[in-house]
């Protein structure tokens, strides 16, 4: 057990090291320059550009830049090139904005897809199964922003509620009840949109897991004991079908930092996705690299947690 954990941590750290190198190279080897040091940029004089270059270590060889960057990152001193704000502070602010979207979206995903998937599997081939299958594919296939516009038009026309932004402009003075309702309205649509893909994919996956398990011999044994269908489905089959999903809890983690660029752009939501997008536009390397690094860390922690959870929930695995 201990050796498994140790080995896995070492392996993840090595992976992380390579991730940092790859992302650093991608950014720095791509043609073009950050706007502050772009000689074409009319806002800056030649001297200013030179000063920026020294300040950002852009005049140093690549491996030195790499070392400087990660020295700054680990001492928490990295600053954005665009506005000289500390990167971690910026990310944290945006993270707090994205968090509600993430939480509501995740709750929606997991609470909707499980019942749908299980029901489809139990009544497979029936009208419910076939329509939910078709619906799931529909949701997987629809371009996110197109779906967003359909929903916006619908909500705006039907309920006359504005849904762009985090709250309605100028609502600051009204009663807290109104403000809370307003926040919820603004939250609902983007998180629902963010969840649709997840709901569709996850419910399909639940269904196929459940079907797989329902065909197993031990389900037949359970029926032969005289258990009711409910006991067979929800105790014997579901328990086994759920195993892979327990491990998926770990894999939610990277979603924390993801944030959807497209959805946040449509809803003018000042979250992480927007920040990443803006950073890319401005070639604000520290932000891009930090976001990338943090999300890689989360991916690795996520897989680690899911490996551990597997050990806990599956009695067959013993180290």
């Amino acid at each position: 057990m201990i050796s498994f954990i140790g080995r896995s941590i070492v392996q993840k750290i090595i992976t992380l090291f390579f991730v940092s190198i790859v992302s650093f190279l991608i950014i720095h080897l791509a043609p073009g320059e950050p706007s502050q040091v772009d000689p074409m940029n009319p806002k800056f004089t030649r001297e200013m550009v030179e000063r920026f270059r020294t300040e950002f270590h852009l005049d140093k060889p690549l491996y030195r830049q790499y070392l400087y960057f990660f020295r700054d990152l680990f001492s928490g001193k990295t600053i954005s090139w665009k506005d000289n704000q500390p990167v971690f502070k910026k990310i944290w602010e945006r993270f707090l904005n994205s968090l509600p979207l993430f939480i509501v979206g995740t709750i929606l995903t997991w609470t909707i897809s499980f019942p749908v998937g299980i029901r489809s599997a139990i009544f497979r081939g029936g009208i419910y199964d076939r329509s939910s299958t078709f619906f799931a594919y529909l949701l997987i296939s629809i371009p996110g922003f197109f779906f967003a516009y359909i929903l916006i038009i619908f909500v705006v026309n039907q309920f006359h509620v504005p849904v762009i932004g985090m709250e309605t402009f100028g609502i600051g003075d009204t009663a807290w009840m109104n403000r809370a309702m307003d926040r919820i309205w603004h939250l609902l649509l983007p998180s629902l949109l963010g969840a649709t893909g997840g709901i569709a994919v996850l419910s399909r996956y639940v269904r196929s897991q459940m079907l797989e398990v329902e065909g197993q011999d031990y389900v037949r044994t359970a029926k032969a004991k005289g258990l009711t269908p409910d006991q067979v489905h929800y105790k014997h089959a579901l328990r086994n079908a759920l195993l892979p999903f327990v491990t998926m809890f770990g894999l939610i983690l990277p979603g924390l930092i993801g944030g959807s660029v497209i959805i946040e752009s449509i809803f003018a939501w000042p979250g992480m996705g927007r920040m990443a997008y803006e950073a890319i536009l401005a070639r604000d390397y520290p932000i891009i690299l930090t976001l990338n690094f943090v999300s890689a860390v989360l991916v690795l922690i996520g897989t680690f947690i899911s490996d551990l959870l597997y050990l806990v929930v599956d009695p067959r695995i013993r180290l």
């Binding site: 950014i27 791509a30 073009g32 296939s141 371009p143 922003f145 993801g258 660029v261 890319i280």
Partner: protein, 389 residues
């Protein structure tokens, strides 16, 4: 062999047995049951021909349907509107005599633009997936077939010298970069010398060190996959596309280069299981070369699941391109793509909803049919599911 009469009888014994079906017939018999997949396939084929037709009808100097013709007199006309014959010049009048899908804010014929876009979407999807599949088969095949071979110290050193040297060269450090490259060449030279020396019975400590096994090829490939999976995929694509000059080829290549991991994983899994099977063992026993075994015997067997994921991959690539277009990083003008028609149209969503709905629904239908077709194929090819329903 027990007695010859029964052997002769055997032939006639088979008479009342089940009709013999070829693999293709069996496949079709199972596939036919899945109505959604059939619908998907029909649309898949329709889209294919539509895209080719679109390519033919919209290219050249004087195409039948001109997607780039600007008619400001006729801007934002709704679908099925007749062109304004008095105000258009003779060469501006659309050949069909009607704007089937209306016109956009520059008076361009949306139908012509959609046709052109279908070709672009198709090529983006196919080329991107083609790249991903080639990389995936190559890396997955290596990992699956040669997986348990180890990289030796000498090879590792040579590779390290070459890679670091090349990087330093790119980083404009000519001297140290060249030195490392020469070091790498030196390693290969030493290896060649060692090979001669290795024929001798006793090996020196140096030789043994040089031949010391480090990590297996499988580990290298799979760790590389892990590394790539650490990047949030859309963010990565967005970053690279935004940093590179805008061009349709860059988009295809970037999507391809960032989506090969899934294919690699299951080509590897497929190869691992194929490697254990009798026909590969037989091929080896016959002394066929590895190359022949891989390409004549194993790749054809692994190709079916690759096709499935390619079908779904094309759908994903089309969606990705649309997403990039929406953010302003898509295929640049003058090419019309469904993604950029849609994102241009969103400004007029209340005045000219067709500019949003026509491309949106087109993308939806095509992606949906690719997904349904792919999933139908997967169900039929998956022997575990075949037993049931």
């Amino acid at each position: 062999m027990q007695n010859t009469e029964t052997d002769a009888q055997d032939i006639q014994l088979d008479a009342p047995l089940a009709p013999k079906r070829t693999r293709l017939e069996e496949f079709w018999r199972l596939f036919r049951k899945n109505k959604l997949a059939i619908a998907g396939m029909v649309f898949f084929i329709l889209f294919f021909f539509l895209a080719i037709a679109g390519f033919g009808l919209t290219r050249g100097d004087n195409p039948l349907l001109d997607p780039a013709m600007v008619r400001l007199q006729d801007k934002l006309r709704p679908p099925l509107a007749k062109p304004n014959l008095e105000r258009l010049q003779a060469n501006e009048i659309p050949r069909l005599g009607v704007y089937i899908f209306g016109t956009d804010d520059l008076g361009r014929d949306v139908f012509a633009r959609m046709l052109q876009g279908s070709w672009v979407s198709l090529t983006v999807g196919f080329v991107a997936v083609g790249i991903a599949v080639l990389i995936g088969i190559f890396l997955g095949g290596i990992a699956g077939y040669y997986g348990n071979r180890h990289i030796r110290v000498g090879q590792l050193l040579a590779a390290a010298f070459f890679i670091v040297g090349a990087l330093l060269l790119v980083g404009k450090l000519i001297w140290s970069g060249s030195a490392l490259l020469i070091g790498g060449a030196g390693c290969i030279f030493i290896s060649i010398l060692m090979k001669k020396a290795a024929k001798a019975k006793t090996k020196s400590a140096g030789t043994r060190f040089w031949y010391f096994n480090t990590i297996s090829i499988d580990t290298v490939v799979m760790r590389f996959v892990d590394i790539m999976l650490c990047f949030p995929s859309f963010f990565l694509i967005l970053t690279v596309v935004a940093l590179l000059p805008a061009s349709i080829y860059n988009i295809m290549i970037v999507i391809g280069l960032t989506s090969w991991m899934g294919t690699t994983r299951f080509v590897r899994a497929e190869f691992l299981s194929l490697r254990e099977q009798d026909f590969v063992a037989a091929a080896r026993a016959l002394g066929l070369s590895n190359f022949r075994i891989i390409f004549r015997h194993m790749v054809p067997n692994a190709v079916a699941p690759v096709l499935v994921s390619a079908t779904i991959g094309i759908a994903t690539a089309i969606l990705t391109e649309a997403g990039l277009s929406f953010l302003g990083f898509g295929v640049p003008p003058p090419h019309a793509t469904w993604g950029n028609i849609l994102s241009d149209g969103q400004r007029f969503i209340f005045d000219a909803p067709w500019l949003t709905f026509v491309p949106g629904i087109a993308i939806l239908i095509v992606v949906l049919s690719f997904n349904l077709f792919g999933e139908g194929l997967r169900d039929v090819l998956n022997p575990k599911l075949r037993e049931r329903n």
